[in-house]
Each structure stands twice: as structure tokens, then as C-alpha cells.
Symmetry: C2
Subunit: 307 residues, 2 copies
Amino acid sequence: MFRTHLVSELNPKLDGAEVKVAGWVHNIRNLGGKVFILLRDKSGIGQIVVEKGNSAYDKIMNIGLESTLVVNGIVKADPRAPNGIEVHAKDVEILSYAKSPLPLDVTGKVKADIDTRLRERLLDLRRLEMQAVLKIQSVAVKSFRETLYKYGFVEVFTPKIIASATEGGAQLFPVLYFGKEAFLAQSPQLYKELLAGAIERVFEIAPAWRAEESDTPYHLSEFISMDVEMAFADYNDIMALIEQIIYNMINDVRRECRNRLKILNYTPPDVKIPMKKISYSEAIEILKSKGVNIKFGDDIGTPELRV
Amino acid sequence: MFRTHLVSELNPKLDGAEVKVAGWVHNIRNLGGKVFILLRDKSGIGQIVVEKGNSAYDKIMNIGLESTLVVNGIVKADPRAPNGIEVHAKDVEILSYAKSPLPLDVTGKVKADIDTRLRERLLDLRRLEMQAVLKIQSVAVKSFRETLYKYGFVEVFTPKIIASATEGGAQLFPVLYFGKEAFLAQSPQLYKELLAGAIERVFEIAPAWRAEESDTPYHLSEFISMDVEMAFADYNDIMALIEQIIYNMINDVRRECRNRLKILNYTPPDVKIPMKKISYSEAIEILKSKGVNIKFGDDIGTPELRV
């Protein structure tokens, strides 16, 4: 066993208990007689104290930030420590040494540009902001599905390599399929319609592709399409469903991701049902007034939520 | 509103009530004075009776199988009817007429070959067996996710257009990406590892591709990969997790898909935890004894469940 507790599970009631925690070195301060390590796991950050004279002290002298540790120690309540708690190491096992210095600062004190972040994605994903985005995305998608399950929708998986285009005007990525030209699906539209004609209510969360330049207001070239199809329903039923989906997603994220939202310094909007609705013509007028160049026949009405 | 009830919600307690049901004409029998329609919706099949003299009678004279109807009528308990219940039509609205004769028998009495089924997929998906497969798949995938949520896994979405291969030996489909050669991901492996190095426990359910001929025991060229990655765990932890996932999937399907399993005439196996485990060497011996040609270094150990 690599751990008995996540660092966020440590609390003053455990004072005196022996625990095992594991994670990455988020920060390290050597005060001579004592070394303070901020250890980060998936739940948060906790403080480890290694005293001089302890066998672990020499071991950790040369570890750099982002090295991976397992720490065995005694919980001690201390109001000066983060969350009022620290772990006094009895022993430390070093699972891996990170190279030093790191090419990207995980604590975020030194900002990195987008090229560095993408090149050093391993470290970039460890930043608390990126962890928050990943967790919020997962909760939002879970909420989307739960609303649909509740209303009797069946999750489906449709083919992604297709023989021809689904929607007029959308640019396709060609795939070489055993010597023949095929394309990446730009939408599950046609499959969804077949399926709704059989089992009435279906949804799919899956990648979709549009070979469109990234400087347009339309699609990313690869995105996650959250797609619903419903038989025996009119546009009012669809709007009522989408309202419910959005309402639940925002409120589930608000409730389940309180700390993650704080890290991102973001407060989700208050939403109420029924939401304000506008007609297609009104929507076109608003877009025109914002200077968006509307070509009628474009699939601007497709309700694709990007996650 | 297209309906007040699904056909499976009708029961003898509703005797005398006025209801509205909607669905497809699964079967039709004209006894002269009465026409019996078996109406199919996503929940099942119910019986409609249209009596001669009723205004609906003439309307339905020319409808073929798989036409789409909305029926307004009075529920009547009758032990001779399927499920002991039928709806005596007051009025019928025909939403669409199906062409007749149909190129595929949805009731399944006349079997179709695979070419016909794929060409007439709209009708093929309406067969109760196909509906059962879709529903069971959705329940199985839901169960997979629920077990992982329970153990603190985060759902992720990784890129599917990639610059180079993930696993040695796997054949790739080339994609033309804005004038450059790229490939379809054959596994989320590398991305999962980056993500597990940040948030420890991740999973993804997404398409993956292998450009392998279909006459090998390896992969479908396009399949749904159900993929898990876990930090601070050893192979025993992984086996315990997979056991739990499989146990829950089988039992959730058994419980939630009783009728669908009956349609497929299939009983899921009884599974117990802990499951029997064999070593890698034993697995290789078993495969060899079955005449499977093992090339060491192949990724035969990759736990990909196909749905």
C-alpha cells in the first residue's frame, strides 16, 4: 500500500496517529534543523516535516521539486501548519527523482507561455489550475449524462470513420482507410437519427472533427461533441431538456467543485428555469449586430457544447 | 404532447382511462370488423384496437408496417390481449407512412443476411434484438463509469489525431491534417500516463483505431476503448479494481436489463470476487495450447474491453 490517507484526509483528530501519504514534492524549504516539504497528491497539498538526525533527512537532501515520495510519519496538529496539521516523517521512500531545475514551474509563481506549457505538458497538467479544469470537466460531463439517463436516454457509440459528409459546408479530414479515401465524422447526426428512429432517445459524447482554420468563430478542428437526439418531441421539448441539462451541469459543478472553482477564481452564473428564450430571427439579428458574418445555410444552429 | 404513456406503462388499473400512445406499427391484423395494431415504442409493444365505423378506421386502411402513429384511445383490460390490456382507438394520427413492402422484416420472422441488415440499418436497429444490444451496452458503460467514480477516477478526453505511434507494432490509419500527415490514435496510453502523473486516477471511454485486417484475433479497425490509468498502485490494486468493474457491470446488466436479456436469450455468467487469477506465463501457455500464434512483444496484454 502506497498510502493510508490522502493529504486532504488528514485532520487534527488524527493527532498522534501514524499515517502513510504519497505524492509529489510541491515545495521544499530547508531551515537547517528541519526540512519542510509541501507534498501534493490528487486531493491537495499537505506539510511534511523531516528533522535533522532522522534517517530520512539525508535521503531528501538532494531531491528536487516534483520528485515522488512515500512518507511514513506521525500526524501532529499545529496551528502554524497549512490546515493546522503536519506529518513528522519517520521514514521517506523516494519513488522517483525529478530532474532539476524543472522546465516549468508547477506552483505557477513563474508563468509559462503557451509553447512551453504544451511542450512540458507533463508538468503543466500538474498545476492546480489544470487539475481543476480536468475535474470540473469530468463533473460537468457526468451531470450531462445523469440528466439524460433520468429522462430515459440511451448512450450510443457511432462510427467515426465515415464514407461521406454529414452536413453541407463542413470541411472534412481525409483518412486513408485500407487504400480507400474515407473521412473523420464531423457529427454523429445521421447515425443519431437512425438510432432515434429505433430507440427514440439517444445521446453520444465523442470526438468530432472539422477541418476548419482556427481563426473562425465556428469549430475547433477536434472537439468533444455532446449530442442528443429525441423522437416524439418538438422544439419546445428539446428546449426544456437543454434547460434542465444546463441547469444541472452548472449546479452540480458549483456543488461538487467548490475548491476547484476557487483555484480558478471563477463563480458560475446563477441560472433559473425557465431560461429566457429568443427566436431564430432574433438570434440572427443579435449576431449581425455584433458584426458576425452570417451565411445562411451554415450550421450555426447545431447545439454543440465544447468541453 | 405526443403521448401520455409508454405502452409498457399501460396496465389493467388504467381500465377506462383515456390515454395517448405513440410509436411504430410492429404488426397489423385486419379481422374485418376490427383492426388490431401492435404498436411498438422504446418501452415495448402494446395492442391497439380500431373498430369499423370509427373515423380512424379508414385512415389506417392503407398504412404499412413501421408507419408512425399517435393513438388517442380508451384503455380496456382484456385477458386475451398481450399484457392483459389494449387501447381502443378514438382517433389516430399518422405521422409518417412507411413504404411497403419493407426491405427487412423488423419482427425478425424473416431472417436477413448481414449485407441486407447493414444496407437497411434503419430497420435493422428497430429489431428488438438490436434495441436490446444498444440498451445493454449503455447500462454496461454506465456501470463501468460508476465504479470508477466511486474510487475517485476522473473522466478525461484525449486527442485522437496524433503525430506518431503510441505502441510498437500497431498499424495506424493516416489522416491528412492541414496538408501534413498525422494518424488516428490507436490508444490513449501516452496521454493517460501524463494525466495519471497529475491527477492520479483517470479513465477514458473513446474510439481507438488499428489498421489491422479483420481476420486476425487482435483488434477491430475501429473500436471503443475503455481505458483506465492509476498512479500509486501496483498490479494487485489494478486486478482488484478490474474485478470490481467486471463484477458490477455483469450484475448491473443482469438487474437493469432483465427483459432485454430475455429477448437475446442470454444469461450472464455468475461471477464471484475474488476471481481466479493466472500468471502471464500461464496465460501464454494456455494460448499456445489453443494454437494461437504468439509473437512476444505484441500488445496482447492490453486490457481492452470491446463494447
